[in-house]
Symmetry: C2
Subunit: 200 residues, 2 copies
DNA sequence: CTCCTATGTAGACAGCGATCACATCCTCTG
DNA sequence: CAGAGGATGTGATCGCTGTCTACATAGGAG
């Protein structure tokens, strides 16, 4: 398939577009800066060609985001394949924020950009992340209101990622990130060990 | 000043641009969709005029975001002027998410968009929000590691806002939002009342 | 072999951010 | 009170973008 120097038909342009988009994102294009035309150029194809596979820019972004969800899941699993303790949970949280910071543009495509909320792959991918977090939480806190706590933990971690991305928290080094995230996660979990601290 | 039908010099175009931008955002423009030129049209001015006051689109967005921070602070204060209990904190959290959902485009301009991280007003505005949250947390949890816990709570609330914005959590009605946010906040705070739930 | 459909091309359009030379007005100095 | 000069708005222009249309080509089904 990579034989002929230039073929009229690309072979698998749909996938090539997603790959090209990911490359451009890694190379420092802004989320709003990466363009349909740049993707076409990178894929070695006419500007209008990607429109045969993606209705518009948003559709392509949704496809890119879907890949991003898979890579995020992989990154988290790699940090700790079977988290079951508070410390494990902190590991996963650090990995989550680390992913957000190191692949910040991809991350903001996944979460910060308007997107096709009805795309089945996208919904499935986000539900997978949701279920993954819920699973961890239910293992760490088997007796609690799992659903609400899972939502809270996901929000906590997600929020930490955004605050780092936005410069509100120091994201200049992995060490700083790790320290901040661990401190925040433990501050919350340690509430379970110092009930007297709660007023009202 | 609003006398003459058309004046060559506007009077206060800088402020008018911010006002026009806010109007456009309220009218449903996308964050990436609202344009410098649209702002100029709305202000009744030539396309290049705003550039006398804002170096580029990002500079104007930063100014808009700064106004947004002030309005967010006002919205939170209105929800509960002097929060000191966990329940008060939940009120503020609901107000935060409510603001994010009801003024979603402004919110994503404030947080979701690349921005001038060095703008003094912007830094001051975000630090004000940060200090506000830290203040609440230190009142609710006087004995805890205030800084880490404040970061965690801010992240929790911020994350809840984003998950609602992104359709990951049901944002279809204020009631649903309130229920989800309160459940999440209480799930975390109730850890202080059920230490046995923590494993590991 | 032929036709149909999927896919890629060429060219066009309007809208965008940004910059330029120029026009106009306000204010400050003499 | 005049007029110089800086601040502010105008209009034209550039290259880029998303998206549409008409056309070209390829590859598979009959």
């Amino acid at each position: 398939m990579p034989s002929g120097p230039t073929r009229y038909h690309h072979g698998d342009l749909a996938a090539a577009c997603v790959r090209a988009a990911l490359e451009l994102l890694e190379e420092g294009a802004t989320a709003s800066g990466f363009s349909m035309r740049a993707v076409a150029r990178r894929a070695g194809v006419a500007p209008a060609a990607p429109y045969r596979h993606y209705a518009d820019r948003e559709a392509l972004m949704t496809a890119v985001a879907t890949v991003g969800y898979a890579e995020l899941a992989e990154h988290l699993a790699q940090a700790n394949p079977a988290p079951a303790t508070a410390e494990d949970l902190a590991d996963v949280a650090v990995a989550y924020v680390d992913f957000a910071v190191r692949r910040s543009v991809l991350f903001s495509v996944m979460f910060g950009e308007p997107c096709d909320h009805d795309s089945p792959e996208r919904v499935a991918a986000t539900e997978a992340v949701s279920a993954y977090v819920a699973d961890i939480v239910s293992r760490c806190f088997p007796d609690s209101d799992s659903e609400a706590l899972a939502t809270a933990i996901w929000a906590l971690v997600h929020g930490l990622a955004f605050l780092h991305l936005d410069g509100k928290l120091d994201a200049s080094s992995p060490t700083a990130i790790s320290a901040t995230v661990r401190a925040a996660v433990h501050a919350v979990l340690d509430l379970a060990n110092s009930p007297a601290a709660l007023r009202g």
